[in-house]
Every structure is written in structure tokens, then in C-alpha cells.
Amino acid sequence: MSRPRFVRVALVVVALLVGAATLGVSDTVSQQPAPRPTEAELLRRIEALGPQLEEARIAAEAAERHRELEAEARPRRATEVVHVGPMHIVTLPEQSELAAQLFGDVWRNDFDGVVGSPALAEHVFVFQWAWRRVEPLRVDAAATGSSPVQHIHLTRAWARTRGVAKARIRDAVWAVLRSDLPEGSHLGRWIGSTGYPSTQRVARLFTTSPSDDNRACLAGVTDGCVAALGLSTGEMSVPPEAAAIVLLEAVRMGGSGAWARLLEARDAAPLDALAHAAGVDADAVMAGWLAAVLAERPEMHAGLGGQAGRVLLWVLALAAFATRSTRWRLA
């Protein structure tokens, strides 16, 4: 081997050895856990991050405000205002009739007795039921004024039927009504933040629960119902939505002016407030609630009928296709 070639080979070998040694060292180093930061280091880090956080917050808010202004600057579509009961509904002109029907149905069927709700009179509902996903309907401040706005923006993909649309409207109306009963009030605390109650669900859970209070209530003992609803002990043995059902039932029983009476008594004990709103005694309110819940008890059996029917339908459909085939028919 000539001398220059020998030197080159020697250099390559040395470089490989050094490289391997370095890799080994770095491998060993990387396996060492990083030392835990000391209290002083953590304090320094926190102090350094404070101003950065404030600066980042201001920058984020400015960027979001800019985006909102851009959105505001885009042209808006024409809208119409529809009135149903005490509700103001802003919607597209082509959907005004639909909105009147849907809100009208919800109002008549679920909130008929609720007259005189300040929150409902104050709020504006913005309603849109689009075929496809579109930009949510934006309305001019002139249409809503300074009123709080409740958006009901539906697409056919998620709200396919009028039933689903009405359920969403019901939820929105209930959310507004609930704001008449702030959580600071006794009644508001008792109602909690549950959505619009499903009486069927409450009936199912209420009648199948092993609670003694529920059993007593079902046997017609008023004290049992009072305890089940958490009106004496503070702990409910029924789903929380049951409270909302009692409230709506009491308002129905009270007829005209019941909601206003309920608001008058919202800081009283819930049972007294309900009786005051209904204009009857607590026993009658409980009896009315129990009757309303039991009337909605679903007629459910083991869910085999529907399944079996669907399976049979599919089998028949496939068998029908099989017999109508011309190419592979057997006889």
C-alpha cells in the first residue's frame, strides 16, 4: 500500500472510531434523566412567562377582533321578523311561514301556559333550517336591537324532520325561560341547568328506580313525591329534569298569570313557589306532576318486535330479488 493511501485509510478508520465513541457517549448521556428544575429555576420561568402570556393574550384578542370585523363587513341576507306568542323570530323571508308553524306548534304544545316571561319577551330567536351546511344567518343590529339573541341554526343533515327541528326549538325556548330563574334563586338552584325535559325518560327512570321515595310517590303518598323531588331532603331520587316537569306542570295548572306568580315566589322554598304559581296546595301540585309523568310512561316491551320486523323485511326483500333474477333463476 502506498503511503498516501495508507494515510487516507488510517484517517477514515480513526474518524469511524471517533464517531462510534461519540455516538456511544451521546447515547449514554441521552439515557440520563434530565435533572428536575429547582424552586429558583421554576420561579424564574414563571416570572419570565408572565409578561409573555399577557402579550400573547393581547395579540390573540386583537387577531380575533380583526376576524370578527372582517365577518361583519361581509354582505348580509334579507330577513323577516315573525311573532309567535311573546316570541320574536328573525328568519329568512322564504322560511318565515315554516318558522311560524314550527314555533307555533312548540308554543301551543309545550309552553302554552307560560305567559308573562320577561326573558322570552326580551330575547330574539334567529332561526334557519338550511338544506346544506351554510354560513349561519347573521342579522343586523337593527333587527335585534340590544336584545340577547338565541340562535337556532339547523341543517337537514342533522335535523332531518320537523320533529327534530321542533325539539331544538323547544330546547332553545326552555333555555331562555330558565334564564328567568337565575341560579342564585332557590327555584333556579333546584331547576339546575338541565335541558328541556323528556317526560318519557323521567317516567321510565322514575318508575324503575329502586328508591323508597319513588315507590311511596307511586303509591300516591305526597311526602314520597316531595322527597323524591329533593324538595325536603335536597337530594333527588328522580332525574334532575323531573324538577322542570313539575315546574311546567304547576304553570299549566295555574293558567293565566302563573309564570308571573312563579317569578314572584322564586326566592321562596321551591314547593311553596310551585304551589303559589299553580294556585293550589302542594298535594295537588304533586298529584298533577305524578299524573303527567305516568301519562307519558312509555309502552315499552322487550324491543324484539321492531328488530324482528326489520330482519324479516330485509330477508323478504332479498328473497324477492333472488326470485326475480332472470339470469340465474333456477326453475
Binding site: R36, L42, I46, A56, A59, A60, R67, A322
Partner: protein, 377 residues
């Protein structure tokens, strides 16, 4: 043209008329702006640093306090609030009763349960990460081993409600019984943030797992389904497919057993806190493995478990030496007993194949019967 072809073509034309040309949908951007993401990232870093600082300050004071105040190896400090006397007394009695019932018991180990105001030893105005989750500290102070739960509380009503529930020692129960673990076992426990000893009642962990809703997108057919943890690491999936080596890796690889949430993992790695109670399900097997060590203890007995716990060997070797079978194989049988195994790979499960064949045979039978009975003319 065949009638059905005309119907299909007409339908396609109708859909095309309705949907074409494709309109450009301009929705207001809903994703977070980069400036907001930066703000959130800084806030998260601040939160983590602050949580580590609080853990560091608590760990500076609590062990010495526990060792000084311990009676029969136990130090209890209830929440400092008025009007809780009855609840506190019940809580203390429950704690001591739990400890008395522990057999065996390491006489050197000091246990502590300290209720701490959540903002104690913190800096006001700075967000605190993992602030109301129970913190466990494990270590040694002046030669005395300790296991301490610090229970942060925000308000008096909150403490009152929690007093009824915080009676279990969780991971500290094992420390109380078997003392300080071997060094390599402790490293393994640290890597998982005591994740295999979070629930002292293994059946609770198993039942809780069963009650979890199926992961989104899970196909359920005749009760058969993809397994839980389908979106987990490949080693976990391989374990669920019946490979013992993968099972061993799934429960020992530090990368696979570290806490799932960034804040928690960071604080555990950078402060004396050993674990945080509650929170999201931990890898590798979610809630199911939260009581794994207690299952081992119940299955093999205290003596064998003590051999494993105090072993100086690595986890797989200690396991085999103590329990007489390889770790991977035991974990495989354990996971099979709880959630079952599934076939790995892209092929269809046998159940789907034979159910399809059965359906086709039945339909062919119906079609044949109808065809045979058919009369022409």
C-alpha cells in the same frame, strides 16, 4: 333501454341538477388563530411550571411534618374549616380503620393524608395545573420512607362533600403493606406515575371499564366488536392480538405507560410528585389496569407479591421469579380474561364469514324453494 337503467340515469341526472356545479362554501373560519394557539401554549407552560412549583413546595414540608406527627406510622390532617367536626371525625376513623385492617404492614413506612387548600404555596394570579387532583408523594426523608396523599380543596362545601369519599389509600396501601419497593420496581412505578396501583379494588376498575361507551366508530355486530384501545399503540394492539412479547412491552416500556395528559406527565417528570389521582384513563389499558398490582396481590398472595415488590431485578425478571411465570404471558391471559383477544391483520373475523355464508345459504334456500314451486302456464 331497460327501465331500471332509465330510473338510475334519471336519478343521477336529478342529483346532478341539484348539486352541480359545486358551489364554493365560504364558512367563517372556526379554527383557532395562530395568535390564540400561541397564547394557549404559553399558558400551558406557565400552568405546568406552577404545578411543579406547588408540588415542590408541598414535598419540602409534608414529609417532615408527616414523620413528626405520625402516630402508629400514620399522620392525618383534615381540611381546616369550621363546622366539619362530625365529617372529619368519621373520615379519621375510616382512615385508621383502613390502616388497621392492612395485613401485612411495614413498620418503618410513614403514611400521611393531608388536606391542603389548593392554592397553598402558590403564586396568586398564575394558573395552576392539575390543581384539585390528589397528589401522591413517595420517597425517603432522613432515612424514613413515606407515602403521602395531598388532597387539594377549593372551598369548604367542596371539602365537606369530598370527605365522605376520600377514604382509600390507593397506591399508598401497597407502600404501607410492603414498604419501599426495589429500586428498579420503583423506577417502573414512577414511569407509569403509579398507574398500575391507582385503584385498590380491581373489580371496580374492570367494571368501570365495561361501563365505558364503545369508542366512536366501533362496529358492533351480533355482540362482536373491535376491541377497546383500538386506537392505542401498536404494542398494545399486538398484545390484544395474543402476542406475549408485546404484552410485556406494553406494561414495561416507559414511553407506553407514561400519563396521557401533557400537564400531568410533565409535572410528574419534573417535580417530586409521583402521581395525580383521577384524570383521563391511563395507558396502556385505560382504567382496566388501574388495579393491576392489586390483582396480582390477590391472585398470588402477599408473600409472592412482597418478593416481587422488593426485588432488585428488572420488572420482567422480578415478576417471573416471584410469580413463577413470564410477565408477558400473564398479562396476555389477564387482558384476554377481561376484554378478550382479537385477530390481528386485515382479514375478516370468522364470525362475519360464517354469518355471511349462513345468510346467503338461507336466501338461496328461499329462492330455490320459490323457484321449484313456481308453475308456468
Amino acid at each position: 333501454m331497460k327501465r331500471w337503467l332509465a330510473v338510475v340515469t334519471g336519478s343521477i341526472a336529478l342529483v346532478a341538477l341539484w348539486a352541480l356545479p359545486p358551489s364554493r362554501l365560504e364558512l367563517p373560519p372556526t379554527q383557532k388563530l395562530p395568535a390564540r394557539l400561541r397564547h394557549e401554549a404559553i399558558e400551558a407552560e406557565l400552568r405546568r411550571a406552577h404545578a411543579a412549583l406547588r408540588a415542590l413546595r408541598w414535598s419540602d414540608s409534608l414529609p417532615s411534618l408527616a414523620i413528626r406527627a405520625a402516630v402508629d406510622g400514620v399522620a392525618l390532617r383534615p381540611p381546616r374549616a369550621e363546622g366539619l367536626e362530625a365529617e372529619v371525625q368519621a373520615w379519621e376513623e375510616a382512615q385508621r380503620a383502613t390502616l388497621v385492617a392492612l395485613q401485612p404492614r411495614d413498620p418503618d413506612m410513614v403514611l400521611g393524608v393531608f388536606w391542603q387548600p389548593a392554592d397553598e404555596a402558590t403564586i396568586s394570579g398564575v394558573p395552576i395545573g392539575v390543581r384539585t387532583r390528589r397528589v401522591t408523594f413517595v420517597g425517603e426523608h432522613d432515612g424514613t420512607p413515606y407515602c403521602i396523599h395531598a388532597v387539594p380543596y377549593l372551598t369548604e362545601p367542596g371539602a365537606r362533600a369530598l370527605l365522605r369519599h376520600i377514604v382509600d389509600l390507593d397506591a399508598c396501601r401497597l407502600y404501607a403493606k410492603y414498604g419501599a419497593p426495589g429500586e428498579r420496581i420503583q423506577e417502573w412505578l414512577d414511569a407509569s406515575s403509579l398507574g398500575f396501583a391507582r385503584v385498590a379494588v380491581p373489580t371496580f376498575a374492570a367494571d368501570y371499564t365495561r361501563l365505558q361507551p364503545a369508542p366512536r366508530g366501533t362496529m358492533r355486530l351480533f355482540g362482536l366488536s373491535r376491541p377497546l384501545y383500538a386506537d392505542q399503540n401498536l404494542a398494545v394492539q399486538a398484545c390484544l392480538a395474543g402476542r406475549p412479547a408485546a404484552c410485556e412491552r406494553a406494561v414495561t416500556d416507559p414511553q407506553l405507560i407514561s400519563p396521557p395528559l401533557g400537564d400531568e406527565a410533565w409535572v410528574v417528570a419534573n417535580s417530586p410528585a409521583s402521581s395525580f389521582g383521577g384524570g383521563a384513563p391511563h395507558p396502556p389499558f385505560g382504567y382496566l389496569d388501574d388495579g393491576l398490582l392489586y390483582e396480582l396481590e390477590a391472585r398470588f398472595g402477599a408473600e409472592a407479591f412482597a418478593r416481587f415488590w422488593t426485588s432488585t431485578e428488572s420488572v420482567p425478571e422480578a415478576f417471573e421469579a416471584a410469580f413463577g411465570e413470564p410477565l408477558g404471558e400473564w398479562v396476555l391471559r389477564w387482558i384476554e380474561a377481561h376484554v378478550g383477544l382479537y385477530r390481528a391483520g386485515p382479514s375478516l373475523p370468522w364470525s362475519s364469514l360464517w354469518l355471511s355464508a349462513l345468510t346467503l345459504t338461507a336466501l338461496a334456500g328461499v329462492a330455490t324453494a320459490a323457484g321449484v314451486r313456481r308453475r308456468i302456464g
